[in-house]
Symmetry: C2
Subunit: 335 residues, 2 copies
């Protein structure tokens, strides 16, 4: 009996050990291959993992075929820093200062005066439309290709004032992980930005792995001209589409041609995009990056003139939108 018990016990211990290893294995594997290492465990990370699992599991009720796995991301404040002003504002200010001597008429316009004076608050107060007016005027007469070269060259040299780093390094590491994770699961990732489409295209591939044709943004009127026997595209000095607020669903329908199943935003400028995404049939997910981390980044919402977040925040619980706390949910902010 003792021997028999001993044998049975050893057998049972062996089975338990095997069972334990088998139970443990997936956890270890998960930890080793965590696709979101800069996200702390918690309801937001879990919601994202659950969603991606549900729509990519073949045969599952919520399965979505790869062609329909459309993911959209706002850029300013969602993928990179937007405070104290949009990155494009700094670019435009530098360009306006550079071009101002050739444009004395700019002194008549308060936005241009603010720009030349480096008055950030004055520029920011004019909002996206003011910024784009400034941007259009500062860049009229360029082709999109020339403009992208100018922008790329500026990105190479410019540094932000707080961290003294290139603006393309002020992206959020956890969001870069989401982009890569979704692509690895068969999603096509799009940037849907209120910023100028060519400005973001200048850096989207290298910074986010998003090719130019997967960037939707605000646009300047564009005209094809025959100049000296060559077709030249000329950017005209007025904005003809603002990809912000209700413009975002319009831009998505225009360029992507399909309703996203997952959307990321951070401000009321993304409100309509988040609704357009989650009002579709089938399983959907919308997530809001909430800037509540003054130490590592910035803390702002209702009262901010850049990236104001009020309505989307108020309606998030009822609409089932996930509000990401930068402070709590992200173990790391920058790459």
């Amino acid at each position: 009996m003792t021997t028999a018990e001993g044998v049975a016990g050893a057998h049972r211990r062996a089975l338990l050990a095997l069972g334990g290893a088998a139970l443990l294995a997936p956890r270890l594997a998960d930890a080793q291959t965590d696709p979101l290492p800069s996200w702390r465990s918690g309801p937001r990370k879990q919601a994202l993992l659950d969603f991606v699992g549900a729509v990519t599991r073949e045969g599952a009720a919520d399965f979505v075929r790869p062609a329909d796995r459309i993911a959209v991301f706002d850029n300013d404040g969602t993928l990179w820093v937007e405070q104290p002003a949009y990155t494009q504002v700094f670019f435009v200010l530098d360009r306006v200062r550079e071009l101002a001597p050739r444009h004395p008429e700019w002194q008549q316009d308060p936005v241009f005066r603010a720009a030349v004076a480096g008055d950030m608050a004055g520029v920011a107060a004019a909002g996206v439309p003011g910024l784009l007016k400034l941007a259009g005027a500062a860049q009229a007469g360029n082709s999109p290709e020339e403009f992208q070269r100018i922008a790329a060259s500026w990105f190479g040299a410019a540094r932000d004032h707080r961290w003294r780093r290139p603006f393309t390094e002020l992206t959020y590491q956890p969001m870069l992980e989401v982009l890569a994770f979704l692509r690895a699961r068969g999603f096509t990732t799009f940037i849907v930005t209120g910023g100028g489409v060519e400005f973001v295209r200048a850096i989207s591939a290298a910074t986010y792995g998003v090719p130019p044709h997967q960037v939707v943004g605000s646009t300047f009127a564009l005209k094809a001209e025959d100049q000296g026997g060559r077709i030249v595209l000329m950017r005209e000095p007025h904005v003809d589409f603002i990809d912000d607020g209700p413009g975002k669903p319009v831009g998505i329908a225009r360029q992507i041609g399909a309703r996203p199943i997952i959307a990321f935003g951070n401000s009321d400028g993304d409100y309509e995009m988040l609704r357009y995404t989650t009002e579709g049939s089938g399983r959907r997910l919308a997530m809001i990056v909430r800037h509540d981390d003054a130490e590592r980044e910035f803390a702002y919402d209702r009262e901010s003139h850049v990236g104001r977040l009020a309505r989307a925040l108020d309606e998030a619980p009822a609409r089932g939108w996930q509000v990401i706390s930068m402070r709590e949910d992200w173990s790391r902010v920058f790459p």
Copy 2:
């Protein structure tokens, strides 16, 4: 000596046999893996193969990295049949007839009268702008999603008058091979059509392997509205962008954000797109499908009111554009 000669001779024959097999092997392999089996050998097929070889051979002078391998294709007359009228004309005629009883005011407009009467020549004479006016009015009040469902359902039931086949089967097999060949070599393939963007998107993935966001086309004004607590995109009854002629480079810059390195067209509506492509720096290729095969398809160029080809044809030799003869270069026309 006889024996020595015999041994040497056998040795030489063995070497020749091996050499012959070695020389023959690549040809056999080429024939077995010809990526363009419906193209007859000749200067056009060779120009295409040479171009793709040159831009994809790592280390070669003309090498282009995959991200910049942008290929654009006109649709009507380049990827599928456009005679006796654009496929979209047949669709719009059917829709107009269906909706006409609700729109007595249409009787005041000659284009609408032609449409309701089934007068193809009268409709075709109005050209792309007339077609799009008709299309817009016939479809006002739909969302892009609804419209794509309507279009997809029409494609399922409609048949052309000559072959009595679904319009999606009147694509050109040699061009389907080009699309697949370029994608296999790392190109991203775009359709750049004068037709309505959502009309082509309804079938682009299944028919051409081109996802909706890689279709550039003419557009109706689009508005986001809050209807009964849902965001609804409404197609307004006027065309706000015509992706034809000089509009094609504009549409390409807008949506693709990069200059193509290879372009396919068939009419003067593609002239600016072909120029925009080949006026870029580095190695480029433009090819024109010439409809010279009345027996298997249609024969038309300068005098046609649909797919008129005159200026692009005249300038092709000086610009180095390849003119494809449907009759001579294609061993098969339809799949």
